[in-house]
């Protein structure tokens, strides 16, 4: 400080004060900036997650739809039976079984011109390593080797127990990886950074190897190869995506058919078996339990260890293998029904688990229509209709067991009354469906509900067994105590810290490692650090959306986490260049919060945010008509305007995404005068972004958009021989049933138009891929470049997708 006269002193003091204030101002500004960045990141994450879960609910609705058909639809005519058989039956001729039993891959010739990797069995470690390298160089494994490898994998898996055991005595370090979802880059990086599997380096891959990403089959090949080469040290757990029904929707089926075409079908078939045969969990040192989803308050490890995860369903004379048990079985329900005594028919189950939250509070709204409870059809965890009616007193146990059927429903205070109501409304709706679909009315008999016969129980997994498996593959941890049905996913439960604690104590475990949920940092501890979520697919939602991580366990069983995030440079790394591995190619952060203030992070967030907002706008568009109705409710005076808080309320009540709409509003809406919004023109602008098909009207397009993943799944189910085509008629029939079930208002004419317009080359068949391609192109044209490149309306009044200075 200055010395001398008082003026100087005063002057100096003033300067100091100014400096103080200036510094304070800068700090204030900086902190606000950081807070805002964090909020945007959080918002973006919420958007992606809520859309993903909404998609999973769609899947559940689809299952409910097929439930209807399966349980209430008795084919009355040859046509009907054929139609439904086409959808549900798996053709199994004697020749098929013959083929499957023996070496159907040996007949496949590998041309001399093939330059990809060649496998010979028994596999050696070098083969597995070479496979990784080959895939890194984007080579493709020939179908013959794929099938060969899968056959060997199946032979190996059959003899494995349901719960694998690993010990740090033998392998000093054990690396556990989470979901990969077809992202080969991440797997390559993990092997790179952590080292290839070896007797000294054990690995556990915790499920969800496939779907969504584009290299699912390659990942499977690598994982199975190492499993065969190091059977004691390399372990796989099944995930909820190791399931052919889920694969139909989430891309693995499509990937296999695209890559392997004529052989794809064989590959998919054997994969169904292989998936069923994957072990359910891994135990390390009897202390750390690793499984894909989570646990429930009734999880019984002894039962899980004992059950027959590949139990034969029926022993056909034609096929000694019968059918394997899977949470999404494949046996035709009509074949099932044919063998069951006629009294066993659809029954209604109610969830008896307490639901702490009211339905309105939950992020994922329950499907509260007449799907209050129904037995699961063949492709749901239970392969047959089970008698577990709440009307039956002795069925109480079974009723409780029905908690995690894939049907979200609200708790019925009075099971009897509910089942009566539901049955009534279900019948009514069924009638309506049938009429709409053009099927003649049928009298549905009320059939009594008997108990399961012993014979059946031996043939199939019991209800309890099925539920135990679903719980460990689908459950998620929650912060609150207790255990309640996982309505968002439609299977498994949400389990609280007390459930975890009880389980750990019951089996003398230290902690749980699970995956199943994407986390921004690639991992997350919860339940007092007793549950670790590990997720290994980086950039899962979008480039830059999240890191991946894996966890290492040494003899002390202390988890050591390594994070990473893939970028394009990964594929340039070769296995031999590990030493020269440069930090620039991969962002690697060890257990630290990454630097947020860097400019790179901010740009990353902006990019991911833009992508999330695009997805959100698309969702808004898909619900235009519902939104319009909702807005009009808020606009009784017909001014054409609503307030911004009304806007937020309306949007939430239609979309049910639980997002902070008020915060997102600036990115989605250009408010007009005085915080009021002209909703009609806003909706029109959303539509203009999406509209590209001249043939299809806006409302149809909107409906298609909203249901396109359902449509795709339906297509793939109908197209049971994976030809890639379904007939117009099949499409129309299915769509009719589906839309009436989903309360989609579409006239008969519209459906015909729709079907005809999808039949691009007018040959009476719909090419599934072409149809979906149309959507992809629309999406692509919108997402190419920045948000600012989105097709904009020339209307100067408003532009739905811009905000001032949008980057």
């Amino acid at each position: 400080m200055g010395s001398g006269s008082s003026t100087q002193h005063h002057f100096a003091f003033q300067n100091a004060e100014k400096a103080f204030k200036a510094a304070a101002l800068i700090q204030r500004w900086y902190r606000r900036y950081m807070a805002r960045l964090e909020m945007r990141r959080h918002c973006t994450w919420s958007i992606f997650q809520s859309i993903e879960y909404a998609g999973q609910q769609d899947q559940v609705k689809l299952h409910n739809f097929f439930s209807y058909l399966v349980d209430h639809f008795t084919p009355s005519s040859h046509n009907e039976r054929d139609f439904l058989n086409r959808m549900f039956t798996e053709e199994r001729s004697p020749q098929d079984s013959e083929m499957e039993k023996s070496s159907d891959y040996e007949s496949i010739e590998v041309p001399d011109s093939y330059t990809g990797p060649r496998l010979s069995f028994p596999l050696l470690p070098d083969h597995a390593t070479a496979l990784v390298e080959a895939f890194r160089l984007k080579q493709r494994l020939h179908a013959r080797y794929v099938l060969n490898l899968l056959h060997e994998a199946r032979r190996h898996l059959v003899q494995l127990p349901n719960i694998s055991r690993l010990s740090t005595c033998y392998s000093e370090e054990i690396t556990v990886c989470g979901d990969l979802h077809g992202q080969l880059d991440d797997l390559i990086f993990i092997f790179y950074k952590n080292g290839l599997p070896s007797p000294e380096r054990a690995y556990v891959f915790n499920g969800d190897f496939v779907d969504r990403g584009k290299d699912s089959i390659e990942i499977l090949m690598i994982l199975f190869a190492f499993m065969l080469v190091y059977p004691k040290e390399f372990h796989l757990n099944r995930g909820n995506h190791e399931d052919h029904m889920v694969n139909l929707r989430y891309g693995f089926t499509k990937e296999v058919m695209q890559k392997y075409k004529i052989h794809g079908k064989k590959i998919l078939k054997i994969l169904q078996d292989v998936f069923c045969l994957l072990p359910l969990a891994t135990l390390v040192d009897e202390k750390v339990l690793i499984l894909h989803g989570g646990v429930s308050d009734t999880t019984d490890l002894e039962l899980l260890a004992k059950l027959d995860r590949h139990k034969s369903h029926y022993h056909d004379s034609e096929s000694e293998r019968g059918t394997t048990f899977s949470p999404f079985g494949k046996k035709s329900i009509f074949q099932v029904r044919a063998r069951l005594p006629p009294q066993i028919v659809s029954t209604l189950r109610c969830k008896t688990r307490k639901e702490n939250k009211k339905p309105a509070e939950e992020k994922g709204k329950n499907n509260q229509m007449s799907s209050a409870g129904r037995p699961s059809p063949w492709f749901l965890p239970q392969s047959r209709s089970l008698p577990s009616s709440p009307l039956h007193p002795s069925a109480h146990k079974a009723a409780r067991a029905g908690r995690s059927s894939s049907v979200p429903c609200s708790v019925a205070p009075d099971p009897k009354e509910l089942s009566r109501q539901v049955r009534r409304s279900v019948d009514l709706e069924l009638e309506r469906c049938r009429q709409q679909a053009g099927f003649p009315a049928i009298e549905e008999k009320e059939e009594p509900v008997p108990s399961a016969s012993e014979a059946e129980e031996q043939l199939e997994p019991t209800q309890e067994e099925w539920r135990q498996v679903v719980d460990i593959l689908w459950s998620d941890p929650m912060a609150q105590e207790g255990c309640k049905a996982n309505t968002v996913r439609g299977g498994g439960c949400y389990f609280g810290p007390n459930v975890t604690e009880r389980l750990l104590q019951k089996y003398s475990l230290q902690f749980l490692i699970r995956s199943h949920e994407c986390k921004p940092e690639g991992y997350e501890f919860c339940h007092n650090r007793k549950v670790l979520t590990i997720f290994s697919a980086s950039n899962y939602y979008e480039v830059g959306s999240n890191r991946g991580a894996y966890v290492k366990l040494g003899p002390a069983l202390t988890p050591h986490i390594v994070q990473f995030q893939a970028n394009k440079a990964t594929h340039k790394l070769t296995m031999r260049q590990r030493q020269d591995f440069s930090m620039n190619d991969f962002q690697e952060k060890k257990n630290q919060n990454y630097s947020v203030g860097g400019r790179f992070e901010a740009q990353m967030i902006s990019r991911v945010e833009a992508s999330a907002l695009r997805a959100l706008r698309e969702k808004l568009f898909a619900h235009s008509s519902d939104l319009l109705i909702e807005f009009k409710k808020h606009d009784k005076d017909k001014t054409g305007l609503v307030t911004l808080s009304d806007w937020a309320a309306a949007v939430e009540s239609v979309l049910h995404l639980g997002l902070p709409w008020r915060m997102l509003r600036p990115q989605l809406v250009n408010s007009q005068t005085d915080n009021m919004l002209e909703y009609k023109s806003w909706l029109e602008n959303l539509a203009k972004e999406k509209l590209s098909h001249e043939n299809i009207q806006s409302s149809l397009l909107e409906t298609l958009y909203r249901n396109r993943s359902n449509l795709e799944t339906i297509f793939r189910i109908i197209d049971s021989d994976h030809s890639g085509f379904i007939s117009l008629d099949e499409f129309r029939q299915t769509w009719k049933l589906f839309s009436s079930h989903m309360n989609i208002d579409i006239t008969d004419d519209c459906i015909c138009d729709l079907a005809r317009s999808i039949d691009f080359n007018k040959d009476g068949h719909i090419d599934i891929n072409e149809f979906l391609e149309a959507f992809r192109l629309v999406e692509q044209s919108c997402s190419e470049g920045d948000a600012s490149d989105c097709p904009r309306t020339t209307n100067t009044n408003s532009s739905a997708c811009s905000s001032p200075g949008a980057h």
Binding site: N15, K18, A19, F20, K21, A22, A23, A24, L25, I26, Q27, R28, W29, Y30, R31, R32, Y33, M34, A35, R36, E38, M39, H42, N593, S595, V596, G597, G598, R599, A602, Q603, S606, P660, M663, P804, G805, A806, H807
Partner: protein
């Protein structure tokens, strides 16, 4: 979080005022602050930064070759990213 943002402390600060604040800390009007100066001001004055905050700000603001912070450019860059 919404509340925090709505608090007066976190109201948006206009660019020019921000600029003047930096200029107060740079009475010689060089157009930049040295790394040491910025650290001193941010960690000793006002509502001091934590070590982590300081590192974060530096990582974005500093020009590694001269080890200085050209605040005018820094402000402009942050403003763009915000929008």
């Amino acid at each position: 979080m919404t509340e925090v943002l709505l608090e007066r402390r976190y109201r948006p600060i206009p660019e020019d005022i921000l600029l003047r604040a930096f200029e107060v800390l740079d009475p010689a009007k060089r157009g930049f602050l040295s790394k040491e100066e910025l650290i001193k001001y941010m960690t000793e004055e006002g509502e001091p930064f934590s070590q982590e905050e300081m590192e974060e700000m530096l990582s974005a603001a500093i020009d590694p070759e001269s080890n200085t912070i050209h605040y005018k450019d820094y402000i402009a860059m942050m403003v763009i990213d915000e929008n």
